[in-house]
């Protein structure tokens, strides 16, 4: 099936998310849509899928104009979508998820689960997916959940498949498997739209590349284009793809975690016996696919987890068992992985957000009342220093772009005297310009002699920042290796495989 988009425009209030975008995708072709977070890729696909109504422009399938009023219409027309945030119901089984909205029924609307099971098994076997139709989706690994999404689309006879940032949650190995699946689908004659901001993947699998910036198509490129060329098109200026940093000036071993074990509220062991230490002036980066215990590790250090055993020592003092406030007072800076959930109060102003971690004592609070003047002066200074692009310090943080929100969080956390910085996913969903800036700040913090723990699921970020790399898999340490370890080896370790000739610390 051939897809053609003509002059699609979508506005949200005064913001133009898609500006006259035109695109053609042929059957048997993988068409990559490359662009930064917030460039308008997902909006475009949601228009195509009937979730948004376009303000202007038309969608053509096999040269016929379509009028979708909802996802149901798009699906009926043969469009399948693998969403970035899986559209699966966690408490349903695979078969139930696949049949939902397209159920075969028997007498009086009773569900024919067997038909759905057979369908799942059939598609699963055809593409070698190995998916158990009766497994509950919430029990499945992320990579398998994604295959369920693909099965869901295929079971509705989709001829055009849209993959929206499909590799964000996958290991490098799973990513390779997904690429293979995409190639198989291409051989089967499906048209594929592949949305991503990862240059490497685009060059590996795409037949054609369209680059989008700020809601507009800025050009097309061949898969043979270099990383630097693609990045420059995507960002609109030449980009430094590497972070410049000097060799570390290592100091004392200031921060040490020993036998850390974290159990969550439902009794699942999230972190099992993690031991590591960081020296002053060193960045230890935690690599691993999302959901391997990273979140619980950082939260346990902060004192946000309930069932924790082991030991977390900073400057020789035990942090476990202390309240979050006591941990912060001990000099821990924390950039949480979800800035909107844990990092900021969206309805509060930039100035107010900048003092959230010191609302108890001077300089901003005296005898229970806010020192507004001091706070404003401080906020003005940080706005400048951290290059936060906002109208003024009274702007609500919720109205800022992701990159600027993150800069506010970074500014707040780095503007105290730190003894340790914990940065979880410091640049997730942030534009390339802000990534450069935040990375420089992290390196500067390290150079000032503070131990830094960076957690990232982006291998690029890990490699860029780390002096040493700790790979987590299933809540355990696979190994701690030097910062210049080759990616291939890191990728293997992220699947739990421990290389035999592993150098460095043994966990």
């Amino acid at each position: 099936m051939k897809l053609e988009l003509r002059g699609i425009t979508k506005r949200f209030g005064s913001l133009v998310a898609n500006d006259r975008i035109s695109l053609t995708v042929e059957p048997g072709e993988i068409h990559a849509l490359l662009g930064e977070n917030g460039a308008g890729k997902s909006t475009l696909m949601n228009v195509l899928y009937g979730l948004y109504r376009a303000d202007e422009g038309e969608i053509l399938l096999d040269d016929e104009v379509q009028h979708f009023t909802g996802p149901g219409d798009a699906m009926a027309a043969g469009i399948g979508m693998v969403h970035q945030h899986f559209m699966l119901i966690p408490v349903f089984s695979v078969a139930e998820n696949v049949m939902l909205g397209n159920e075969s029924t028997g007498f009086a609307g009773t569900l024919d689960l067997d038909a759905s099971r057979a369908r799942v098994t059939e598609i699963s076997e055809r593409f070698g997916f190995h998916v158990d139709p009766d497994a509950l989706v919430e029990d499945l690994p992320v990579g398998v959940q994604q295959r369920v999404e693909i099965i869901k689309a295929l079971s509705r006879d989709a001829e055009l498949l849209v993959f929206d940032e499909p590799t964000a949650v996958l290991t490098p190995q799973e990513t390779d498997e997904l690429m293979e699946i995409m190639r198989q689908l291409r051989e089967a004659g499906k048209a594929i739209v592949f949305i991503t901001h990862k240059l490497r993947e685009v060059r590996a699998v795409a037949d054609k590349i369209t680059v989008i910036r700020l809601g507009k198509v800025v050009g097309e490129a061949e898969p043979t284009a270099s990383n630097a060329e693609l990045a420059a098109m995507m960002v609109g200026r030449p980009v430094e793809l590497v972070v410049h940093k000097d060799p570390p000036k290592l100091g004392e071993e200031v921060f040490a975690v020993k036998d850390l074990r974290v159990v969550n509220a439902t009794g699942h062991v999230q972190v099992d016996g993690i031991t590591f230490s960081i020296r002053a002036g060193e960045v230890l980066a935690v690599a691993g696919v999302q959901g391997n215990g990273q979140t619980e590790l950082t939260e346990a250090i902060l004192g946000l987890q309930e069932h924790v055993t082991g030991s977390v020592r900073l400057d020789g003092k035990e942090l476990l068992g202390r309240s979050v406030r006591q941990v912060l007072d001990a000099g821990v800076g924390f950039i949480p992985e979800d800035r909107q959930e844990d990092g900021l109060v969206g309805n509060m102003t930039i100035a107010e957000n900048l003092m959230l971690n010191r609302s108890f004592a001077p300089p901003f609070v005296r005898r229970g009342s806010l020192q507004i003047d001091k706070l404003r002066a401080f906020a003005e200074e940080k706005l400048q220093q951290y290059d936060v692009r906002a109208r003024d310090i009274d702007t609500a943080c919720g109205n800022l772009s992701g990159g600027n929100q993150q800069k506010v969080v970074v500014a707040r956390e780095l503007s105290r005297d730190l003894r340790l910085l914990v940065a979880a996913q410091p640049t997730r969903g942030v534009d390339v310009g802000s990534i450069e800036f935040i990375h420089k700040q992290v390196v500067a913090t390290r150079d000032s002699g503070v131990p830094v723990l960076v957690v990232s699921t982006e291998l690029d970020e890990v490699v860029a920042l780390a002096d040493r790399i700790m790979v987590l898999y299933r809540g355990r340490v696979v190994g701690i290796v030097p910062g210049d370890t080759p990616r291939e080896q890191l990728g293997l370790m992220m699947t739990g495989e421990r290389p035999k000739d592993l150098e460095g610390d043994v966990a």
């Binding site: 009773t110 972190v271 809540g475």
Partner: protein, 433 residues
């Protein structure tokens, strides 16, 4: 206790629940503590208020086909024996807690029966306790609670918190009284009750689904509104024309042949009014529909992850409207119990907050129709116990007994309910783009 699952079984990367694949049982000491407190309480009652004499348990009614003989027990020895059983069960619960195991449900169930029997034997000293009457009455009193709880389960499974159950019950009772008075037959009244409940649900849906108003607030306001409207109509319209508008035709007890003659169970379950039989059907139909039909799958999908439902072409808000209307209709049926079974007329605020107890049953029953029904039956038992004990003249002050249903509700919801997980999108309005 920890179970280790095969780490290779789930593929390349871990599932979201447990990266290590290892699960430890986290035991709360809530259950052993609650059991211990109750055991000590019973022992203290027996110690400081000893009664001498015998207690007779009557296991059949005079009209029953099979006459089981009465059971006469020496009061104090029986009560103490049951207290010891309770103490042993508490000990077992403590032992399991120390061994980091959960207290199983069967233990709690046996404990509840032993404790209740012990207490009743003591409370009914020197009297005859009509066991069949007590249980049959409990079922009857639980009718509005069960209908209400079913309405609650349906609404919440679709993602709409149905706080307005009480309003649906009350409006149902009102409509049933008026319509059956006018027609002289209870069946049109039952239908009217259902429609009235759906009407209240429609208003709830309008605000909660279409206008994204906070569902808790709308629900509570609706309850107050229905109290206001029915009280106004009662005093202005019903009271002056009581003979025409507020003298409802009641349902009579209709024994089911054969089934009604089974000893013990028959008189309890199958010598009831038609409303109770409608209840059996309603529980079965709701359970089947929710878990086995296309409709139910979509309702649950909409309550768990509306966005996912939308992306497969399910109209989320239309599904929610349809479900909440059915929920209101079911809850409204429960209202009919008050004016078509209990008393032959409508009175102000005659539900006495039963809708809120039904809501507690929804949570206690973990959003499952069968469990919610059992929870509602428990609350019905507590209500009826109070009535029966005051009739046979027990040593417990009647004012205290009036608290019983509510005390049981609090204990049940706060103390004994395990970790329960509501539908993920419960109470969250869905805004399509």
């Amino acid at each position: 206790m920890s179970t280790l699952t095969d780490p290779t079984s789930t593929g390349a990367s871990p599932g979201p629940a447990a990266p290590t694949g290892e699960v430890v049982t986290l035991v709360s000491r809530k259950t052993p503590v609650v059991l211990g407190v109750l055991t000590v309480g019973l022992a203290l009652i027996l110690l400081f208020q000893p009664e001498s004499g015998e207690t007779t348990l009557r296991l059949a009614r005079e009209t029953d086909f099979f006459q089981l003989p009465d059971l006469t027990l020496p009061t104090m020895p029986t009560a103490w024996a049951l207290t010891i059983v309770c103490a042993l069960l508490t000990g077992e619960s403590v032992r399991r807690y120390l061994a980091k195991k959960r207290t199983p449900m069967w233990l709690v169930a046996i404990y509840a029966i032993a404790w209740m029997t012990g207490f009743l034997v003591w409370a009914a000293v020197g009297e005859t306790l009509p066991v069949v009457g007590l249980l049959a009455g409990s079922l009857a009193l639980a009718v509005p609670l069960v209908f209400g709880a079913l309405g609650g389960v349906l609404g919440e499974r679709a993602g709409v918190v149905n706080i307005a159950i009480d309003g649906q019950l009350l409006f149902g009772a009102f409509a049933a009284a008026v319509v059956s008075s006018m027609t002289g037959s209870p069946w049109p009244g039952l239908l009217a009750a259902s429609i009235a409940g759906a009407l209240v649900a429609l208003i709830l849906g309008l605000f909660a689904i279409s206008y994204f108003v906070d569902q808790i607030i709308v629900g509570v306001v609706l309850n107050v509104l229905v109290i206001g409207i029915t009280s106004f109509l009662f005093s202005q319209v019903l009271a002056p024309n009581a003979a025409d508008l507020n003298t409802s035709a009641r349902f009579k007890v209709v024994p089911i042949p054969v089934l009604g003659d089974i000893p013990l169970i028959g008189p309890i379950l199958f010598r009831q009014t038609p409303v109770v039989y409608v209840l059996y059907i309603a529980v079965a139909v709701v359970t089947f529909a929710l878990y086995r039909t296309r409709w139910g799958l979509r309702v649950r999908a909409v309550g768990e992850h509306p966005m996912a439902a939308d992306t497969v072409g399910i109209k989320v808000n239309r599904t929610r409207y349809r479900t909440i209307l059915i929920a209101g209709a079911v809850a409204g049926l429960g209202g009919a119990f008050y004016t078509l079974v209990s008393v032959p007329q409508f009175n102000r605020e005659m539900t006495g907050g039963a809708g809120y107890i039904a809501l507690a049953a929804v949570i206690f029953g973990k959003w499952d129709p069968i469990r919610a029904t059992l929870a509602a039956l428990l609350f019905g038992f507590a209500s009826n116990l109070q009535g029966v004990l005051s009739v046979i003249g027990s040593p417990v002050p009647s004012q205290f007994m009036l608290m019983l249903p509510y005390v049981v509700t609090i204990f049940a919801v706060a103390g004994l309910v395990g970790r329960s997980r509501p539908p993920a999108a419960d109470g969250v309005p869905y805004r399509p783009q």
